[in-house]
Symmetry: C2
Subunit: 453 residues, 2 copies
Amino acid sequence: MENQESDQPSSRPWLEIEQLAAAGAWADVRLRLQRMPEADRSYAASHLDTDVLADILEALRREDAADLLDWLPEVQAAHALDEIDPHAAAEILDQMASDDQVDLLARMEGSEAVLADLAPESADEVRRLLSYAPESAGGLMASEVFTVEEGVNVAAVVAQIREHPTFSTFAIQYIFVVSATGVLRGVLQLRSLIVSQPTTPIDALMIADPLSVSTDASLEELEELFDTYAFLGAPVVDDQGLLRGIVHRSAVEEALAESAQSDHMKSLGLAREELRSMPVWFRARRRLSWLSVNVVLNMVAASVIAAYQETLEAAIALAIFLPMISDMSGCSGNQAVAVSMRELSLGILRPNEALRVWGQEISLGLINGLALGVLIGTVAFLWQGSAALGVVVGGALAINTMVAVSIGGVIPLLLRRAGQDPALASGPVLTTITDMCGFFLALSFATLALERL
Amino acid sequence: MENQESDQPSSRPWLEIEQLAAAGAWADVRLRLQRMPEADRSYAASHLDTDVLADILEALRREDAADLLDWLPEVQAAHALDEIDPHAAAEILDQMASDDQVDLLARMEGSEAVLADLAPESADEVRRLLSYAPESAGGLMASEVFTVEEGVNVAAVVAQIREHPTFSTFAIQYIFVVSATGVLRGVLQLRSLIVSQPTTPIDALMIADPLSVSTDASLEELEELFDTYAFLGAPVVDDQGLLRGIVHRSAVEEALAESAQSDHMKSLGLAREELRSMPVWFRARRRLSWLSVNVVLNMVAASVIAAYQETLEAAIALAIFLPMISDMSGCSGNQAVAVSMRELSLGILRPNEALRVWGQEISLGLINGLALGVLIGTVAFLWQGSAALGVVVGGALAINTMVAVSIGGVIPLLLRRAGQDPALASGPVLTTITDMCGFFLALSFATLALERL
């Protein structure tokens, strides 16, 4: 069966794994996974039922189980580990680098039971790593670093490299020089080892007092550091100057990408890590809590329409255009929000520049407002045959576009100044304001022009 | 003035630069920029008027001008280079690495004039790099690599490293082994140089036939490569197997982040690189072309309301709730779109799974639809005192939420299958469908219950 299947790629590669697992053919499960193309592996693994996945993890060799977890989104890997015996989970985690252990344990419900089963020194290390904020240098660093003690010579360092079996797995080829107590003293480049005499003391070769970051350096500080310098990694020290690990450029870039992704998910009221494999009630509840807030904001805006019910009754054609005004103003405003968010994140716009942005967006809003107002006014006139309706609808959209664009550009800055997350709140605040304003403009213009409509 | 100002950070650091530039005090401009904190530098540089910026670039030493360009968003740097003498621009570009040169030249209007002024061999190299697609391995690679010819021994390589002044600036410490004609033969790790005897031939040390990517490998292929292997960089070869450059993990990650950012901007109808420093007419036109498409889609949806004008006239309170139904359904649907987009990008969902996703989202839509329908129905009943109105509005929102959630989850998959960009088209397609469907449900229910409303 194995040979037959491996020739024709399956469009549902997890089905076969499930069959093999149900038959208890664990060696075949491992073989099958090993032979899959990389993309199929993560695809198949992510489609396995959590129970089946847990059975497979317990049955596989520990290092194979660790590999399997590596192909899954972290949140799903943590869920699966929660399903298996804590002792087995601890043994699997033991096969991973400290930063990967921490990523999974931070997401597990039963992390305490697993920690109790880890070797004491390893558990202490992981507990310390878990105590750092996930997006700080401490939370992002790898604690495995290659260190030599100050005072030795090149030959001694070369000997240590020879003896260190895992040296080649240290992704960045820096060697850190520390004092006897572990205080960071310098960084040694491999290049200087190569071009130096064996008897040269490393204190003469190392870059002394190298740039380092504190364990609690923020993601923004790390981003700025790696933007400024072409380093692939930076040493992380605690408040006593002790070397604690190395934070890699790639870890910072991954965290930044996740944070951008997470902002987008949060702005739609989604849990950052929602996957369809999660229980439907959990997903529904998370989405619903944000939608309910939106209902309230919508009602605030709709109350403007309710206040003008009589006008609307007398000019029913206006009702066709109210949703359009709401949608178009929202779109125009969201464009301005996105440009401000981008300029904020590029560091070329600061929260105190609200007035300048407002001035710049007013002129753009004027241009686009006039264009859209004329367009929709003409449509309203041709469609409903009423020039007055065209003027009311077009005028309202023109003014409201100007309002939406200028307010949209400024809202992220004001929210940032007020200590709020602009990615989260800009959208709802914007559309509530522009809906209210748009409905008010259209309906009050209509009230003024009532006998002509 | 210099000393006085550098003590008190200015909230508008560019003003001082502009004053110094106006006075022709170029040495002071350079000093002032050098002494600024990094964040202030890019902030100040990005706020300079393009004319002033061009004057400064021409007056500074070429390497300082290159630094200044490095602090700017690429699109602004390219605009500034377009403003100055092509000969000066060529000299400034000469101070940069080939991949940075290409990034700027690709964005310049006057790149041909500048290329004509570059040294012929350098211009040929840049022209070749410009010919690659920007998001391919060829477009992302750095062409500066450190190579040695096969057949030599360790001592010869060490001697070459000693002589090569720029070796330490090669961010990745790989040494590539090539044949006499430049065909990639192997990769040498610095580690193996350190632990080997000087007389060892490198052909015995190198990793032979190393993994490499073709110059036209796509961003997706590169993402998968770096996901699979912990490499910091991969050699890029052309179709004759000649080593052309190295593509760094960081370049791929940056391109992926830019592509995600660009998707978000495009989905709002914004030019990917819109900055407020661009001419207002340019910005307005770009935004407007997308808004106009939205007007048309909105009219399609509004035509449903127009068809039921009589019903609406008889049940005017319904007009209060139509924008709310449109907005709420759009929100619910966009949540499902975002989850599908995320699962697609994680590689755990494939376009052929539309039916499975539809089934999963239907149940979630049912839960949230019932919850929101009851909520808004109760509100409508209490607010307008009509139980029938509550049933009409609540029922329409309940069903339309189910439609929006299930359609929203599926649309990105269908668009991907149809070869369209789901990031671009999902939103407009979704809201047009859910608006039409929501208006139809509410107004046809109201028509049925007309005598009770």
